[in-house]
Each structure stands twice: as C-alpha cells, then as structure tokens.
Point group: C2
Chain length 367, copies 2
C-alpha cells in the first residue's frame, strides 16, 4: 500500500475507513490492443469498430458525462489514468479501498450481436484491468466483465479470472435483459463458486415506455426504475433461493426508492405468490439480507429525512457509500452525506457495510 | 339520486362522503353497435375485429382479472351491468360519487394503427357511457375517451362531449406514448377549455426493460414505474407551466412511490434545469399542486407508516380513495385504509380531496 501524504488533514470524513463502491476507470480502445487477439483487434484498428450506442442525448453537463477537472493532465478522457486517479480521488479522500466498475464502453453484455467479439472484449478488458489497475494499487478491487449473452463463454471467463484475489464481483449491465431469467443462472452459479457477488450498473437502459424520452433529465430521473425492474426480476425468478450465498450490489441507482419497492414487492408477494412458488422469502427480507445499494446519486437531504428512509427500510446496513468518480454528478465524501449523522452510522455507510458485503475485501486492519 | 336502502348501517366508513375515483365499467362490443356507424361496425360484426392485445400473462387470480363475485347475475363479465354495479358497489358502500374510467378494451389511444377506427370507437364509447351510465345514475361521473394519436380528431371529440356536465376528465392510457410530448398539447388545451382534468391509467404499459417479464407478478409490481415515467414526462416537457389550470390524476398506480419521486425529480431539477428552462416550478410543488393519486392498490400499512409517507410528501391532499371495482384486487372502503387515522384525514382521502380536484363535481351538500 502506498504512503498517503494527507493523513494530517482535519477533514471530518477522513476518520472513517472509506470504501468507495463505484469508481469508473475507462479504457481507450488502443489500450486494449495488447490484450486482444486477432481477428478482433483488426476490427478496431483497421475498421474503426466501436460499440453500438443509442442514447440520443448530448450530455447536458458542461464537460459532458465527466467532471471537467477529471480530464487527465495530458488531455485524455477522465478515468483513463491510474496516477491521476490516485492523486485526485484515492489519496485526496484517503480511500481505504475503491471498487472499479468500468465505463459504458465497452459493455460486452450490452452488445446486440457479434457475441464472439463481446466475449473477446470482456477478456481483454479483464486482463487490462488486472494488469493496469488491480495489480498496481492495493486499494483497488475489480469487477469481472463478461459477455453474458453467451452464457457458456461467460462462465469460462468467470472461471478464468474470478479467482484473482482483487476481483470481487461479476458486473452485469442494466440494459434490455432481465437478469432473473433462468437462462443466465449459470453465471450466478459460477459467481457463487468464486465468492464473487453480482454488481449491476445501468448502461443504456431502454427508455421508459420503450422509447427515449425527449430530454436527458427525464432519462436520468428514471434510471432507478430500471434498477427496480432488475430487483423484481431477480427476486421473483427465485435467484436468491437457488444461490444461497449470492448477493447483489445495485450500483449508481441510489437507494431512496428502496422503501417504496420493499413495500410494493411484499404486498404483491402476499397477493400473487401462488404464481412463483419457488420464492419462499418475503422480498423485503431478501433485499435486506442479500442486496446492497451504492449511495450515488444521493439526493441532498437532512438527517431527519435520512432517518425516515432508514426507518422505512428497517436497516441502514444495505447502504454503501460511492463517489461515482469521475462522472459529472460525483458525490464527494465530504459533502454528500446528510449533516449530523452519528459516528456509527457514518462508519457503516462509508465502509463497513461494503466490507461486510464483499467477502473478498480484507477485514479491518487486515491489510 | 336514487334512494339508498342501507343508511341504517353502522359501518364506520359510511359516515364519510365517499368519492370513488376509479371504477371500471365495461362495454361488450355489441353494446357499442347503436353508437357506431359504418364501416366501423361491420369490422366488428362481420370480421370479428378486436383490439390488439399483447400481454402474455394468464391473469393469476382465480377469476381472472375480475372479482369472481362481480360477474353479473346473467353471466356477463364484471362491470357490464349498471343495476348490478349499483347494488354491489354504489349502494353497498354508500358512494356519494363514482368516477368511471373504462376497461382496457377498447382503449383507442393505445391502438398502433387504424386511427380512424380508434377515433370512431372513442366516440361510440363516449355516447354509450353517457346514455347507459352517466344519464342513468346521478352518482356517476365519466371520462372522455379519445384517440390521441390523431390529435385534431381527439380535440374534436373533446369539443363534442367535453361539456357534458358529467364528464370530468380526459382519459389517457399509459402505454408507449410519453404524454408530455408537445405533439399532444392541443389535447391539454382542449381539456383546459372544458374544465376537464387529465386522468391517466395504465393499459398495457411496455414491459420494463422493453420486454415482457416472465411473470404477471413482475409486471404488476412494476406498474408504478410507468406512472413515474409519465409524471416525469409531463413535468419536464413543461405541460403544467403551459396550461395553468390543468391537473393530472394518476389512476391505479397507488401513491407510495410519490415520496421517492418528489425527492428524485427535485434533485434532478436542481442539477439539470438548464436543459429545460421552460420549467419554472420545483417538481415536488407541481406534484403537490397539480396532481393527485388514486389509492388503489393501497399496500397494507399501519397508521405510522401512512404518516411517514405523508410527512415525506408534505401533504395528504393529493391522495384520493378508489376501489378499482370490479378488479380482482379491489380495495374495500371498509378494509383498505390504515386503522386509526383521524376523522379529518379520512374525510379528505375518502372524498374531499377528489371533490377539490375535479371542479365539475358538485360541492358538498349541493346535490
């Protein structure tokens, strides 16, 4: 672990062990070349292949999707440089650990064709991630990328890199696949075998009502609804009964929708459980015991508002702090949380809930 | 107003004026024939045309989508008989008023082609509704059905029947159209001209993630997410600034998602309002002042849980009781509400909020 040079800071939040559950490292296609065999490499190098993109919006923040100040000193896109991320994020905030969740591109499981290319990209990405990030900074933990459409190959990829000590979850994009479908269950089985959790992050979720809305603000407001759909799919397809050690981290959807969803799913389960007899646990208990939620984008709120939400959920142990670095709506550890929360609460949110969630993270003081 | 024969009942809820904001009357196609000109009638009569249906689920409740005991005495589908509905619903519960919202079929605005047929069906439906229901029971108020895809014709239909004293809202289905789109604004303009509110009710909203989920329980759990999408669309497309007297009733989506949505939209508005400069009001204020929500399906909850939700919303004046008669998950006025709520709260929820919302409903004691 490298020496931290800001231990003398008096920032209040630095007394907590900070585990940041959503950091977006980004690859440039050319950086994947050393890890990408032929013929795949030539499609990028010679044919200028890029992953399909559908979102029609110009990102409305001034600097696009990223913090303006996160562009690297040599002018490359935010998230592409480990040293710059170390300086701007990990050292500055005194991170104990950070979990890499990738950028939108490539997102192999979101490709709507050419699954062999998707499989090759996933492998190259994992090798790049391990060599360029995970093996170079003891604070960073990673996500196994797969091309889930090809389940057998996805399982092979999990077998190939899932035992790396710094890989702690399998990443699935939230897009147009409902992951509870039994077709994908071998992925969960393989994840469970390697003590990997499932992390889910939206990529370009199909627009609400099946079409793109007119404005980015509409789309961005409704991201959480695609998270709700995945939780509902995973629960009622019986994934958590079938894989008793599997847990699900919902990334970058916030958590303020969880009280509503718990109540809704419990009531529907009481009314309609005869349709899904393989589900034996109340949905709110499954959410409490088998899921967690990264905080960003955390709405500004008072301590009282925070406590109401926790009272409705019945626990605060499913909330894990995240910055979403380097995106435009980055949540600073010093600013994002409501003021006045108790020490033990902050200790859980900033780090201990995530440590408990991911079995491959070192115990406290174990590093 | 007909004589009520159950005034002597001691049921607690009967002391409140009950305005039921969601009652599903149902038409049999042949009942539309007297109101449907040619060539439209012959497509049904001779060609057995039926509106397209997509939902793949067998309704899992024992009697299908309806209460088993709501089938009419002569064996017709639930909701088709005024006398039977009077007996089973209006008289039994001592309804002061009930608002008809139609059944799923026909849902002219949901048709994906042949808009002229949709327009003809909407007109026939309105005439049938007026003649067979609204003019025959003083307690019943109605919804103007339109084929919104053909905006000019939809406006004509609003002009044609919108001034009927018992028509109180224009009904729009929640399906795959985001109603905030300016293309549809002439409908809101026409509604406003006739003191009609907008009522929105899901028909077959496109499945979350753009596909049908595997089970009815998933689809049913996620209905509220399609309501959230419409509210978001209406707010950020500036409908409420443009039509200052227009209000929106969200029907059969419940209201327990509203605290989440208020907080989410307010934060997004703070962050991204530069994209939608025509929006000048905080979304939560628009929700509080320009929308209301019918209660059904109301999750079972304690008084304390109810009060937490009201505290988060900052008001209980946007909640309007509904039974959703005759659907399988009907909410009885005697059973659905949390126990122990104060008299003034119940008075608002059971009737006064709806009376305030719909300007064409008679004032209290005015009938």
């Amino acid at each position: 672990m490298q020496t931290l040079n800001n231990e003398a800071t008096t920032d209040q939040t630095k007394k907590y062990s900070l585990i940041d559950t959503d950091i977006h490292e980004r690859v440039m296609y050319e950086d994947l070349f050393p890890y990408l065999g032929q013929p795949w490499r030539r499609y990028i190098e010679d044919c200028h292949w890029q992953q399909e993109k559908h979102m029609p919006f110009t990102q409305p923040a001034v600097a696009g999707v990223d913090r303006a100040d996160a562009k690297t000193p040599d002018g490359k896109p935010a998230g592409t440089s480990l040293p710059f991320m170390q300086e701007q994020l990990l050292d500055a905030n005194n991170h104990e650990f950070g979990i890499l969740t990738g950028a939108l591109d490539p997102s192999p499981s979101s490709m709507h064709g050419w699954y062999e290319m998707a499989t090759a990209l996933a492998s190259a990405y994992n090798d790049w991630q391990i060599n360029e990030w995970l093996d170079k900074d003891s604070r960073l933990y990673g996500s196994v990328h797969i091309a889930a459409q090809e389940v057998a190959n996805a399982v092979k990829e999990i077998e190939r890199v899932g035992s790396h000590p710094k890989m702690i979850q399998v990443l699935l994009p939230i897009d147009d696949i409902a992951w509870g479908d039994p077709y994908y269950h071998p992925i969960f089985e393989a994840a469970e075998r390697h003590d990997l959790m499932i992390g889910m992050h939206h990529n370009e979720p199909p627009a609400p009502l099946g079409k793109w809305p007119r404005y980015f603000i509409e789309w961005h407001s409704l991201i959480a609804t695609s998270h709700m759909a995945q939780i509902t799919s995973m629960i009622f397809n019986g994934v958590f009964e079938k894989y008793p050690n599997l847990k699900l981290m919902m990334i970058e959807g916030g958590f303020t929708y969880v009280p509503f969803l718990m109540k809704k799913l419990d009531q529907q389960f009481k009314d309609l459980r005869h349709e899904v007899p393989w589900v034996t646990t109340m949905p709110s208990d499954t959410i409490k015991n088998r899921m967690a939620f990264t905080t960003q984008p955390l709405e500004e709120m008072s301590k009282k508002e925070w406590n109401l939400l926790v009272e409705q959920m019945g626990t605060d142990e499913i909330i894990c702090f995240s910055t979403d670095y380097p995106h435009w709506d980055y949540d600073s550890p010093d600013e994002a949380m409501p003021k006045g929360l108790e020490d033990d609460v902050l200790e859980r949110i900033y780090g201990e809930n995530a440590r408990k969630f991911y079995p491959k993270l070192p115990a406290r003081g174990d590093v």
